[in-house]
Symmetry: C2
Subunit: 210 residues, 2 copies
């Protein structure tokens, strides 16, 4: 059996372990989960898990990292820089909320829980957040450039738009998890409708900008 | 001297200790700060600090709680429910960013640092955040009701607006601390201008809502 296991490339083997670890941590929480349980879930021997990923702590860190990559990849795939920025915003939010709703358990453990667990997890979550900020800023900068290269907003304002989008998405994802009766798509519909209510208030003169 | 100290009401004495603790924690960080240093800063004996607030941990928790109260109070005082909701949003953001900029050191320790420190601080920060969410939701619900009692948006959408505002404010406050060259007021100007760019894109037909 050890021979058969070694035939798989390291990358595939690690992915299996992290998949299993995400399931076990999501189900049992960090403190209750054991490396033994994760090894069993992955169909891999416990010593092999230690050889590959070292410790429960390193497994958990690897899970945070991998899930952050997945959410960044999902958002990147949904947003096309040649579309109008509003479309990018709504598509990005939609995909993000779907990701959170589809990965409700792992999100709660790997993100909501990990960020409050002290080091080294808080640092890993913080690094993941920085990657998300960089990626979203890149998307907003690309998305607010007109086909001719001209900019709708300055680079600094594009950064600020990215921070607003990330902060709002983050805060709304907590709300979504607290309201399981609400679907990710209906939440995006609410947000787009609220944007239109805002536009209408400005255009009818009901709103006061300053 | 002990007699003289005891003449002050408990509330005043506690406020002195918490003021001193905020200064010491902000300056030295949680781990380096000592109860002795806080007692000295407050001009109170170390045993007295222990009698009043128990431990360094409880002192820190009291600081988080008190600073959260201060920020909620500042936002509440700036937002008038009989003003249009946009005005309330810009006033609330302005006061919040000024608070963060004026309390740069204590904000970094009591909020940014505390939320990643594990229990019991993460729980205290989380409880503080819930108080902020409740208060801002209350303000948005009140602010989106027309004088006749009619609502601009439903109660649930008002909740969502509150979450968006809090998430964006939170995320932008991190940005503000990373950009000391930017003033709180110029950040609010940027955000209001971006809102107007958005409105203009919709009204000129450049934007696509869905």
């Amino acid at each position: 059996m050890a021979t058969k296991q070694q035939r798989l490339p390291r990358e595939v083997r690690e992915r299996q372990m992290i998949d299993a670890a995400v399931r076990v941590f999501s189900h049992s929480g960090y403190h209750t989960a054991s490396v033994e349980e994760i090894a069993e879930e992955a169909g891999i021997s416990k010593p092999m898990v230690y050889i590959y990923l070292g410790s429960k702590e390193r497994l958990f860190t690897a899970c945070i990292h991998r899930e952050a990559d997945r959410v960044v990849e999902a958002v990147r795939a949904a947003v096309h820089p040649d579309e109008p920025p509003e479309l990018g915003l709504w598509s990005g939010l939609r995909v993000f909320f779907r990701f959170v709703a589809d990965n409700r358990d792992s999100w709660a453990v790997l993100y909501q829980h990990a960020r409050t667990q002290g080091e080294p997890f808080a640092q890993e979550v913080s690094a993941a957040r920085c990657r998300v900020i960089e990626e979203v800023t890149r998307l907003v900068v690309a998305g607010t450039r007109l086909p001719g290269g001209e900019r709708i907003v300055t680079e600094r304002d594009a950064e600020i738009l990215a921070r607003i989008a990330i902060g709002a998405a983050d805060s709304l994802s907590d709300w979504l998890l607290e309201h399981p009766e609400e679907s990710p798509d209906s939440l995006v519909d609410r947000v787009t409708n609220l944007a239109l209510v805002g536009v209408e208030r400005y255009t009818t003169g009901d709103a006061q900008p300053f």
